[in-house]
Structures are given as structure tokens and as C-alpha cells.
């Protein structure tokens, strides 16, 4: 486990730096003085039990919430000081929200990702937008869904379409809140490989510790709104910490074929 950086961050060199962020909701502090960083192209995982503050922290990074203290920095610029559209050109998100009330088509939902790139309030989709959207849908394996109504999709199909929407935003930083929710196992692996290939810096909350072990360059462990550990997965995912934070017994093993770190999990004795 590495020590947390507590001195001034060399933020300009980093794509994303969360610097001493605290978040209050309805007068209750849910996130306490969190500092984390992600270098360009890194996939950074956020793990922690339910209610630990992962989503709340992520909502700050895609501007759905404003921190009560601290700052979110993008390549040295303060996120909450940017114009909303400018911020949305740099950070895209897959929120956990599922409140689609209107029967948009899949193509329309993906097209919304181009909204921050539109010039002028009256401007419609530009010529290149349709191609970008079709390409993004193809990459998430959902090209055949383009004409379907979004509300008629299964949970996993919706999730992939929303990832396509985040991709057409062409962000530097991609924030994913449980991207593997509702996905079957093939699509879980597919999506995580895909966001890594896609190029942006990724900050993702994950429940599945084995997915986190296999797909993240760096993990931050959140408990009660605080970062309690951080570092490469092999260092962070050790039985003592997992017992303390997740209340599980973890037995690290090597995958017999790939040699990757795997955790066998069961209840604490």
C-alpha cells in the first residue's frame, strides 16, 4: 500500500486530480477530504462497500454535485470553474440514474453525447455526428439497436448504449459508475476492455473485485467517505484490508491460465 500524497499535487501533468474534496448532501458530509489522481490513459478503479461514498464522489467529477471543499482539477483547470459545456467536452459520464421517461430512439440517446460539441443553440446534429454515433454503437456491439426505442431495451443493452453516448462525447476523462451493472459476463469483460482501448483516462466505480483486479491500473478503496488505501491492485487487494472494509474473507490465487490475480471470496469465519 502506498502512502497517500498529501502535498501539493503536480496537477498540470495529470488528467484528473481530485484534491481534498469533501461533499455534503442535505447537510450530511458523505465524502471527507478525498484526494486521488489519474494520469493520462490510466484506468483508475474506486472500490468500496455500498454507501461508502463512491457514487457521491463520482457525481462531483461529472459536475452533478459541487464539492463543499477542495477542487476537481482537469489538466490543472478547476472543473467547477469551467463553463458546463466546456466541462462536458472534457468529462463524460455513465451515471447510475435510470429515469428515462421519454421514448427516444437509441440513435437519439447516443446523439445527445454530441450536445456539448454543438455550435449555437439552434444547431442540430452536424454531418459528422451520425458517423461518430454509428461508430460508437458498433464499438459497444449495439449497432443493430440504433433504430430501437431506448425504453424497449434490456438493462444490459441500455448500459452499452449509454457507454456509446459517453464515447461520442470524446472526453479526456470518462467517469463510470458501476459500468458492468446489468451486463452479462461477456459484456462486462468487453466493456472494460473497450473503455481502456478507447483512450480516455477512466475513473470507474466497480463492485466486482476481480474485475477491478484485472482491469485497473490503480485502485482507491473508499470506506465511510474516506480513502483508506490506494495503489496497484496487487498491493491493495490484500486479505487484511478486504476483511476490514468489505467484511469478507479473501484468498488471493493466481489464475491457472492467465496468471492474473484472482480473489476467492467467502464470508468471514
Amino acid at each position: 500500500m502506498t502512502a497517500l500524497p498529501t502535498t501539493a499535487l503536480p496537477t498540470a501533468a495529470l488528467d484528473l486530480a481530485v484534491d481534498g474534496v469533501s461533499v455534503d448532501l442535505a447537510g450530511v458530509r458523505l465524502v471527507h477530504d478525498v484526494t486521488l489522481t489519474a494520469a493520462a490513459g490510466q484506468v483508475v478503479g474506486l472500490i468500496g462497500p455500498n454507501g461508502s461514498g463512491k457514487s457521491t464522489l463520482l457525481r462531483c467529477v461529472y459536475r452533478a454535485l459541487r464539492p463543499a471543499a477542495g477542487a476537481v482539477l482537469l489538466g490543472g483547470d478547476e472543473l467547477h470553474a469551467l463553463a458546463p459545456r466546456e466541462a462536458a467536452r472534457r468529462v463524460a459520464a455513465l451515471p447510475q440514474e435510470h429515469s428515462a421517461e421519454f421514448d427516444f430512439t437509441v440513435a437519439e440517446v447516443v446523439g445527445m453525447g454530441r450536445l456539448p460539441h454543438r455550435r449555437g443553440a439552434l444547431a442540430g446534429p452536424s454531418a459528422g455526428d451520425a458517423d461518430r454515433c454509428a461508430e460508437a454503437l458498433r464499438r459497444v456491439g449495439a449497432a443493430h439497436l440504433a433504430a430501437r426505442g431506448f425504453l424497449s431495451l434490456s438493462g444490459g443493452e441500455k448500459q452499452r448504449v449509454l457507454i456509446a453516448r459517453a464515447l461520442v462525447q470524446e472526453p479526456r476523462v470518462l467517469v463510470l459508475d458501476e459500468p458492468t451493472n446489468h451486463l452479462d459476463i461477456a459484456h462486462q469483460l468487453e466493456v472494460l476492455a473497450l473503455v481502456r482501448e478507447a483512450g480516455p483516462t477512466v475513473l470507474t466505480a466497480l463492485h466486482d473485485l476481480n474485475l477491478a483486479a484485472g482491469h485497473c491500473d490503480l485502485l482507491y478503496v473508499v470506506a465511510d467517505g474516506r480513502i483508506v488505501a490506494s495503489g496497484p491492485p496487487a498491493e491493495v487487494l490484500e486479505p487484511g484490508l478486504l476483511a476490514e472494509v468489505f467484511r469478507v474473507r479473501a484468498t488471493p490465487v493466481r489464475h491457472p491460465v492467465t496468471g492474473a490475480l484472482q480473489l476467492l471470496l467467502d464470508r468471514l469465519p
Partner: protein
């Protein structure tokens, strides 16, 4: 919510050929699931041709509205009088009365019907996106019931008599704005306006205002006054004059212009506040703007025509069934559809039992409800996840 598999099965299978073009073959990548032969999406009518057709129909309907009536004017005479008014042509001496009927009574009334219909339909679209609720209409925020209090204060109690013919409109408008401010201040929290609080506050306040109106009618109504109160509550375009058209037209056009500029942001807001935020749209700010625009347009419309229901609730759904949910298309078509509907509603309301006039609300329901139900059954339309 229905289990997903039943919903998927409930999708109406539309033959590919019926959609005009063959579906491209689906490439079988590693990720293409077994549902490659997915049912095609909802049928859509192209919005621009539809809007053009509606605009043409609206023009023709305005002429019809001027020609149809109890005074027995012929079509050719009406057309000649309209042309004379537009180009300054000459009139026969005995045509002065007919000219007055066409230009001073029927035309302002038809134009006002179009303006009111367009305004109600567009604000209906805006409010439904603003509160993300299928049952919302421009009146859900307490506007119409507030305006009713103002209007009935004039009708029943003779308030604001010093304003003369403007008393009713001015009082209704002032009361509508007051009601909106009350709802806004009550619904507001530290986190901005949340959809559910807005709807609940508006609904609760509406009950309060309606009770006030009922109390006034109960306490003060004599025969004719109760009748005009009823007329006002169900909406009427009978009071239309050129005096009331410009202010309503300017407000509605300004509202439409704002909404056209906000169409993309409305799409994002319709997907949820967090999604909107991640797409660069500040949901609280947009909701505040929409609140003000809706208040101004609805307040003005209610002040000149009473509380005309149904248009603001149903026309947005009707239009979404035809062109889909994207707000650029919906906001292009909905005002024209609303205008067309109300022009015809007004024609029916004043001719069906002539010389008596039916309240507009009765006719909107009679024309709109069957049409709406028919369309809903024919098209696979979903709103709020249900089918």
C-alpha cells in the same frame, strides 16, 4: 414495472417492408447478441414535411374559420373581403357589416385560437420535460387555478372595475403570476427545483385555488355570472378582439423561440438531472428558465382565453407518437398541431349549437380524446417505461 421480457415481447412486430427500406444485414461481431433480428424501432413520421403540411392546413383552416358561421356569408365573399382587408381593395357600401364580421369578429377570434393552441401545446411539451411526468400539463403548476381566482374575483365580486374591459384579463394574468411565484417559492429547496416537489406543490396549490374559486361562485353567483364563470373555467375564445391578439401572439412567439433554442437541452433534461449535468446542461438553471417561460406564456394565454384544458396535456403526447421524443422535432410540430386543433375546436364550439356557444373544453375533449386513444392503440407508444 413490468418484467423486461414481457415488455420486449409486447413490441409490435412491424414488417420490415412496411418501413420503406430493408434493414442492413447485421454484422456478426463477437459482441452481436442472439437478438440480431431485433424488432425495428417505433414508426416515425418525418417532422419537416409534417410541419409543412400542418402549416398549410392551418392557413386553410383560418380561412375556413372566417367563412363558417351563422351570418350566412359566402366563401367567395369572405375571400374577397379578406383580400380587400389585406391589400386595401374597395368595398361595396352594403358590405360594411360583412367586412366587420370578417375582420373584427371572426378573424381575430381564429387567430387567437391558433396562438392559444400553439402556446398551450408548446408549454405542455416544456412542462412535461421540466418535471419528467407524463401527466403534467401547463396547468399542473397551479397557473390556471390561480388565474381562475383572479378572473372570478372580477366576474363574481366586480373587482378591478376601474380597468374596464381589461379587468378580467389583467386580473387573471396577475393572479396566474402570483400563483406561480407562490408555487415556485414553496417548491424550491437548497438543491433547486426537483420535479416531484414541483408537481406536488402545484397540485396541492391548485386544490386550494379551486376551493377559493368554488367559494366565490357559491357565495356570489347569480344565474348569468355563474354561467360566465363556468365558461371561463372551461375556456372560451368568445372575447377575442384585435386588442387581445398582439400581446398573446408576442408572448407565445417569444416562448416558442426560447424553446426552439432549448430543444437540445430539453432532451438532456428529459434523460435525468445527472445525465443532463454530465452533458453540460445545468438542470437547475434550465428548470428555472423553463418555469419563467411557462409562467409567462400560460399566464398570458389563460388571461385571454380561460383555462382550456387537454391541449397542453395531449398534443405533446400526440406529436411524440408521430415524430418521436426528440425535442427539436416535437417543438417544430407541436405548436402547429395545437394551433390547428384549437382553430377547429373553436369552429365547432360556436357553430354546433349556434347561436349558443359550447365551452371550448367540452369540444377539445370530444374531438381530442377519441383521436388520441385511437393513435395510442395504433402506435407502440411508451412513456415512463410502460407500453
Amino acid at each position: 414495472m413490468a418484467p423486461r421480457h414481457t415488455r420486449a415481447r409486447a413490441c409490435r412486430p412491424v414488417p420490415c417492408a412496411a418501413r420503406g427500406k430493408a434493414r442492413p444485414p447485421v454484422s456478426s461481431t463477437a459482441t452481436a447478441p442472439a437478438t440480431a433480428a431485433a424488432p425495428p424501432g417505433p414508426r416515425r413520421t418525418p417532422a419537416v414535411p409534417l410541419a409543412a403540411a400542418l402549416a398549410l392546413a392551418l392557413l386553410v383552416s383560418l380561412v375556413c374559420a372566417v367563412a363558417v358561421g351563422s351570418s350566412g356569408l359566402g366563401w367567395s365573399q369572405v375571400l374577397r373581403l379578406l383580400r380587400a382587408g389585406l391589400t386595401g381593395g374597395r368595398l361595396e357600401a352594403d358590405e360594411a357589416a360583412a367586412y366587420a364580421i370578417v375582420w373584427e369578429i371572426r378573424l381575430p377570434r381564429a387567430v387567437l385560437a391558433a396562438v392559444v393552441g400553439a402556446g398551450l401545446a408548446a408549454t405542455g411539451v416544456a412542462v412535461q420535460a421540466m418535471v419528467r411526468n407524463a401527466l403534467a400539463d401547463p396547468f399542473v403548476l397551479g397557473i390556471s387555478s390561480g388565474a381562475s381566482v383572479g378572473a372570478n374575483a372580477v366576474l363574481m365580486l366586480g373587482a378591478f372595475a376601474s380597468l374596464g374591459v381589461w379587468a378580467l384579463s389583467a386580473s387573471a394574468f396577475a393572479a396566474a403570476l402570483l400563483a406561480m411565484v407562490l408555487v415556485y417559492l414553496t417548491a424550491r429547496t437548497a438543491h433547486g427545483l426537483t420535479p416531484l416537489r414541483l408537481v406536488l406543490t402545484g397540485t396541492a396549490m391548485s386544490y386550494g385555488f379551486s376551493a377559493l374559486t368554488a367559494l366565490m361562485v357559491f357565495a356570489a353567483a347569480r344565474g348569468e355570472a355563474a354561467r360566465s364563470a363556468m365558461m371561463w373555467l372551461l375556456g372560451s375564445l368568445g372575447g377575442a378582439t384585435w386588442g387581445s391578439v398582439p400581446i398573446a401572439a408576442v408572448t407565445v412567439l417569444a416562448g416558442l423561440a426560447y424553446l426552439a433554442c432549448a430543444a437540445g437541452r430539453l432532451d438532456a433534461l428529459a434523460m435525468g438531472d445527472e445525465t443532463a449535468a454530465s452533458l453540460g446542461v445545468d438542470p437547475d438553471r434550465l428548470r428555472r428558465e423553463l418555469f419563467v417561460v411557462t409562467a409567462a406564456v400560460t399566464g398570458t394565454v389563460v388571461a385571454v382565453s380561460g383555462a382550456i384544458g387537454f391541449v397542453g396535456l395531449m398534443v405533446p403526447h400526440l406529436v411524440r407518437m408521430l415524430v418521436g421524443a426528440g425535442h427539436r422535432r416535437v417543438l417544430l410540430v407541436a405548436p402547429l398541431a395545437g394551433a390547428l386543433l384549437l382553430v377547429w375546436v373553436d369552429i365547432v364550439s360556436r357553430t354546433l349549437l349556434a347561436p349558443a356557444e359550447l365551452p371550448v373544453g367540452v369540444v377539445t375533449a370530444a374531438l381530442g380524446v377519441p383521436c388520441f386513444l385511437l393513435l395510442m392503440r395504433r402506435r407502440g407508444y411508451s412513456f415512463g417505461g410502460g407500453r
